[in-house]
Symmetry: C3
Subunit: 654 residues, 3 copies
């Protein structure tokens, strides 16, 4: 439970550095991230390195007792590099090339740019890799942000050809796997294949999917090239990348595994994220100053899984930001609440973006721990309080890492890509469906591990799979030998890995444990909502509904009012034949949890709880004061049972 | 009244072909369309033809007693052709060239592509033109789909110049006709004229209109080149093209006339079409599972006219499709209902898309008569029932073609183009206005012929012209000697053929039979709705309203509440001075029908009736059960007078 | 108080010219604008001038006693020029080049086009500059219209480099001023700087701002080149340009000053403007036939200031137009009302667009004083009435120019650009905020001068600054020595001229007269509306709210319900810490006016009044009849105190 901050010494007069370092330490900051975006200062002209200022900045911070996270500056190639190699600029889907003038203006598939990145990272790592105060290295910054991935460039086409050749070996195999006989799409060689942009109507979904797989691999290999350099030169540092919330352009599980990062760090902006994801307007307004109660927790739980237990918040919102459609000031208390929330979910470090608001350039309207006039900001004051509370509490300052949860929720990046490629109905979004299930689990007080579909599920008592496009035999085997309760949502098993409908119909291999067949599916426009009641809870299908036939022993335990099955079950497996309205999802999960012998409770509106190391944390995101569900004899480490809006309490059982 | 199906043998193992053919025949299918989209299999490399598989497929189907419709594969040029001639790819209005990877990636103006099409069609026609089982040929597929027409290519510019020269002869004549003195738009030669895209503000409307006329002619001549080949090699086959619903990019009347097709075939997707046209959200939701009651009938009646009495449904929706914004499952009974509806309006053949759902590629979510596992789909079961019902009824299996209706509704493609070019108010859409009138006519139980403005109107008792931009003297002559009731809507006669306002003001030449002048016109934003009452029916103008002066003997028979005339009449001609709310349109038509001695009845909500060959068909598209308006002594051929949702009955007068 | 008209002799047969001239004079028209857009007729081929037709047109009009305004034809370069120099075509932000085929298809930065413009203007001016009937020259037409400014062309880049070099002298100075250390955006030379388009995420705001400043200067210098020619050849004529309403692409104050125009002319389309600006749908519908009561007055008052007291309406709407989303017919009386409104605000001339509706080309749906059949249009009849009323009234025909108002409202173009570059919240629009304040001032009966922030404020008693991004010392000095009441709105003083946050926090230099600091700001989504009450008026913040600290003696006179200050004051300066709902703005202004000893009255809904030369004009834009607030003994020059919708009255105090 440590606190960090992002700092850009190059943006401030040197005269301020020592005072900044002193004030950071005084505030309770232990970690400082620096140097990402500083390429033009580290190498002002090709091959001319200027290390002196960074040497001094590092020393100044280290001398104040601070630990450093050093960023590689590859998210912002300098102008001289772009002038020398304009083909490094990425290309939009419509064929237009992006310009220099902001950041991330590079093509992840550019061999030239990869070479340049290895060069700058090697130079930095060789100089600073064994510096005792540099405890971690961050690669690049928010890979994939700003829609520069994918790039529809010549470089991408060339590498895509090689990728396809590796995967399919022969063009005949590709034509067969892709079903290119359809619409005469057959190719006579790998080199004849283009990118799937600018087709008059839909491109072949497997063409699109393989391109997305390729792009995910490209991001991963781009990143791994830096990791390989850093491992050599900084053998003792934690290596990480700062991921983003709700971001699915690449497969984070494969990314983490393929490049062996040590920590999954992510950048948490609860209010801006709430504004930007697919939520009803009413909810966006209601949580405009607090963030949706699950919007951060969702990614805390996801990145804890991606990091195999180790995760950091690399950038935490400390006040209003600049980049959402609207940017309100957080409600009083929220900056403190978000810190405890991250810790409750297992964060080792919560690092704020940024030390001081920069009065110029693109992020001048992004707050920091200090105002531009160097006065502590309202958010800074809350961070100060958190630091003091932790320092003042043995229970908090020595808190163990969280144990595994009893409930697993499966998130799958390929499913996201497949259902983006084939929404089939406007507004169908897989991640939103997963989030809806996550919210329901959290509303009934369950701690959740978010895991990949390739996880080991043996420790769980409840496994929730809101959907999973491809169900492989390994998973079916796990289900068959599991005594956990399994809940599958619609479209599960609806595709093969080659983006085709299984020959035995959906849900494909899942039929081995739950004999059902999906005969027809439908997407639902607003106002077309097949109704149903489950155990007294009224609701309807939204977005998606299936016509399912129960085979064998399968029982139908809920039906739509037109008699089509809504929930089917056999043994410990349940299938939900549609995207149900939220209260119905919750009811299905309550029932499944009951069958799994998990205790649940419906928490008050806006209230969330989380266990870690014997402590229970409670958070009030709602507008009204609520009582935390602490036992009578609870010993409060922080706060007490009554929670005003934005309030936190932490207790242990007596 | 025959049934067909679309089949793609190349997409399935040969081992399945014979069984497929047998099952088709058993189901009651008589016609099978094949081979469109198969170019890459017919000619895998330039000039290397592979006929063997198609020979076998044709023989297999023919041996099962099936008749064949052979499609030319020109909607999907293979990759080797595009690699050899990349200039064949069409160009968007913003100058970006489309890519290979889906279908329709060709420029209708490309001389190269036209040559290639003649080559492949000649090869196919030479081989199969006189095959006794091939009863029809279809050219290409859904010409103009996917916005690849128009193409803003160099090829199009060159041919546009030639087109203009043919039409105007001298550049001075063009400058004069176009009014190019305006904004100094004058040209010194035909070659100086560009396409009307990418102008900073509106291009000259006549420039846009002549480009649309040219594009319509391009589609027609592209198609005619294939017809000319087929006529030579397949002299006994019906030649046709499969048109689309609500599609107006080219003038289908001129297309049919200029290339002498034998049958107007069209592709009917009632649910997806209802979702995609301009209807109120409430109606889209209400008819989400049935399609709007008039959405298919409208095109049945239109294509019956275009085909001079002969029309087929080449592709009929048999279950949920993949391409609308939302794709619900049809209500039970609708697949059967749509078949009878098509027959009632005169279809010779209803052919389903497609035999079996293809589990891969772009249309994997499009249902067919069979599920991907080769089990008959719910829609397939309904088709089976239709086939059996027809086979079991002499009245149905020997039904005569429909007689001409007493009511004509004029649809004019040029009017569509002119009012798209000059909507003048957001949301003004001519086809939507025509559809509103059509719906009103059908709600009062009238059978309708949809005809061009150049039709012979002598047989009609009521002629409805919702609008007609250019009114020529020939039409005025027909009116003058007609004793039918004529109803004209707003913007009628508002333009000359050169897209100018008539010198004597709108409605131009119509003034000779109805002396009125339109002084000013206005478009109406939502919430600006001039009110009026016609014979007790309250309503308002929507979208469009005119300030009209009644000259001569013209009488004003309804006024807006600000006193401007709403309906004016003289003799047998009525003029409606605005786009009125639906119930007012219906009231105006009821009155006109009464004056025309046509019996009308206001049908129950969702109920439609249609006469053919002495039978009356009734269809219930509504959510509630209704009684069909059959006389007491009606003899029911199918069903009875009580119609549940999705139900059909057919009777003859005793 | 004179009337004019726009006329295009080249669009009509010569046989009509003399009759047109005679009828204009008879109608009461005194001024006729001609010849803009006529380049292709004046110079049909490069270097071949044809003056004969224009000679005759001018003589014909002059012989009828009409005065002429001659337009330079540079808004519509002919095709031969574009064919010779295609690089003259402007380039969109996405890199696509616009085409010939409408108008304004030129790049304001093209040296070639500038040379061509000087050439044609010199030729025209040399021939007609001293013609006694040509009393004014108009340059080009509506500079900046149709989004062709800015152009992202090579020509623009080159001139931008020169502009930057003039302003920053060294690249180091630019890098420092722009804060290019941020995201490694540093440049090694001016030539390395690109235009700020096509960046993957936000470009540097100062990069965007300097580009907008450059573009504004480009428009100005383009225009000035024509003025310099005209001054030489037409020394006695008024030189002007016809500006647009609500148009802010260039700084009109600097434009007017830098090129010394004699008159600020503008083109007034109240109904289309009301449709196109950011107003609630309800207001757009309510004023669809009258225009919003303040929409024209706002620009009358703004252009009177830009013209240093002299302004003309060069194009006045006389009926329905063609270019808004919807184009209703004006309510009866409005064409007359708009004329008196313009005169009341000080217009010297109201000139109508256009003499006769052109039946062909792009503007065929734009009405004029005559219908296409040469019959006076309804609007023409109203203009005739105005002409007769003025001619019949000594008070009107000899009316003096308006005196300066007691209330100044500051409008600042750079603030518009800065807040467009950095809206920070969707829907924040500076001009809309200014308009909201303007409306409130007009609703309480105040006459308003709209002035630049560099005006001399010594004559005013109330100065309203809805916002002003950069507050300079000169303004603070004026405030300090002023005894007027000053009202500042949110974001005032929030930026430096280099687009950075002031080091002492906003409102920057304003703190010297009002010691407050803005700690945090927030943008507000719909449904997030901090509430407050001011003197009994309930409302909320919309769009924007600030957390302000009152320093020193500053008093908080209103608070939001979460206790943050809403209105702060010290001495004669008020600061409003948010965008308040309209009634609250009005209340704040009423209070400030009271403190300034200005009499106010809340006018009836839709009623507006204006003083000029001892007369009071009253206008009813509302749907209901109202009483004008004339004293009992008022002497009515036009009309009487009861005003129906669209009615006008004018009185003097007895």
């Amino acid at each position: 439970m440590q606190l960090g901050v992002c700092y850009y010494p190059e943006q401030w007069p040197r005269a301020m550095w020592a005072d900044d370092a002193r004030r950071m330490a005084e505030l309770g900051i232990t970690h400082v991230r620096i140097a990402e975006f500083a390429w033009s200062r580290l190498e002002p002209r090709a091959g001319e390195f200027v290390w002196e200022w960074l040497d001094e900045a590092i020393d100044t911070l280290a001398n104040a007792g601070l630990k450093l996270v050093l960023g590689t500056p590859t998210a912002s190639p300098p102008k001289w590099l772009i002038d020398a190699y304009p083909e490094v600029l990425p290309v939009r889907a419509d064929g237009v090339r992006w310009n220099f003038g902001s950041r991330r203006h590079y093509d992840v598939s550019s061999e030239i740019y990869r070479r340049e990145c290895v060069r700058i990272v090697t130079a930095m790592a060789a100089r600073y890799g064994r510096h005792p105060s540099i405890v971690a290295w961050q690669t690049d910054n928010e890979l994939g942000c700003h829609d520069t991935v994918p790039s529809y460039s010549d470089a991408a086409v060339a590498r895509f050809h090689a990728w396809l050749q590796r995967h399919y070996e022969t063009i005949d195999a590709l034509n067969e796997a892709w079903g290119n006989v359809f619409w005469s799409m057959e190719y006579s060689s790998f080199d004849a294949i283009g990118l799937p942009n600018l087709t008059p109507t839909d491109a072949n979904p497997i063409h699109l999917l393989d391109f997305r797989r390729f792009v995910s691999d490209e991001v991963t290999s781009f990143h791994r090239e830096q990791i390989e350099v850093l491992r050599v030169h900084a053998p003792n540092a934690d290596l990480l990348h700062n991921f983003m919330g709700f971001f699915t352009t690449f497969d984070h599980y494969r990314f983490a595994a393929d490049s062996a990062i040590d920590v999954a760090a992510w950048d948490s902006y609860p209010i801006a994220r709430t504004e930007s994801i697919a939520l009803p307007e009413e909810q966006k307004a209601r949580f405009a100053r607090t963030g949706h109660p699950d919007v951060s927790a969702f990614d805390h739980d996801r990145y804890r899984g991606i990091g195999a237990g180790r995760f950091w918040v690399m950038e935490q919102q400390a006040g209003p930001v600049n980049w959402a459609s609207w940017n309100p000031v957080p409600a009083s208390g929220m900056v403190r609440l978000w810190a405890y929330e991250a810790f409750a979910h297992g964060a080792e470090l919560v690092s704020y973006f940024r030390w001081r608001q920069c009065p110029y350039a693109q992020e001048q309207m992004h707050s920091g721990l200090n105002l531009p006039n160097n006065e502590l900001s309202p958010g800074g004051v809350e961070v100060q309080r958190v630091a003091r509370e932790i320092a003042g509490s043995v229970a908090l300052s020595t808190l163990a890492a969280p144990a595994g949860a009893a409930t697993a929720l499966v998130f799958d990046y390929e499913t996201q890509w497949m259902f983006e490629i084939q929404r089939h109905g406007k507004g169908f979004d897989y991640q939103t469906l997963v989030f809806d299930y996550y919210e329901a689990l959290r509303e009934i007080g369950l701690d959740v591990d978010i895991v990949s579909s390739h996880a080991d599920f043996s420790g769980y008592r409840l496994v929730v799979v809101p959907s999973l496009a491809v169900i492989d035999h390994a998973l079916v085997k796990q289900i068959a030998r599991s005594d956990a309760q399994w809940v599958f949502g619609p479209r599960s098993g609806s595709k093969t890995g080659a983006f085709a409908i299984p020959g035995d119909l959906p849900p494909g291999a899942l039929q081995r444990v739950l004999p059902i067949q999906v005969l027809e599916v439908e997407t639902l426009r607003p106002m077309l909502a097949p109704a149903l009641i489950i155990e007294g809870v009224q609701g309807s299908a939204l977005h998606w509904r299936e016509h399912v036939r129960a085979n064998g022993e399968t029982r139908v335990v809920a039906r739509f009012d037109d008699a089509w099955p809504a929930v089917l079950t056999l043994g410990n497996v349940r299938y939900v034949a549609g995207w149900l309205s939220h209260e119905l999802h919750r009811k299905v999960l309550q029932t499944a949890a009951r069958d799994a012998d998990l205790e649940t409770q419906l928490l008050a509106d806006g209230l969330r709880i989380r266990q870690r190391g014997g402590l229970t944390f409670a958070f009030n995101f709602g507008a009204q004061a609520v009582e935390a569900p602490a036992p009578r004899d609870a010993v409060f480490v922080i706060g007490g049972p009554s929670l005003e809006r934005g309030d936190v309490c932490i207790w242990k059982e007596a």
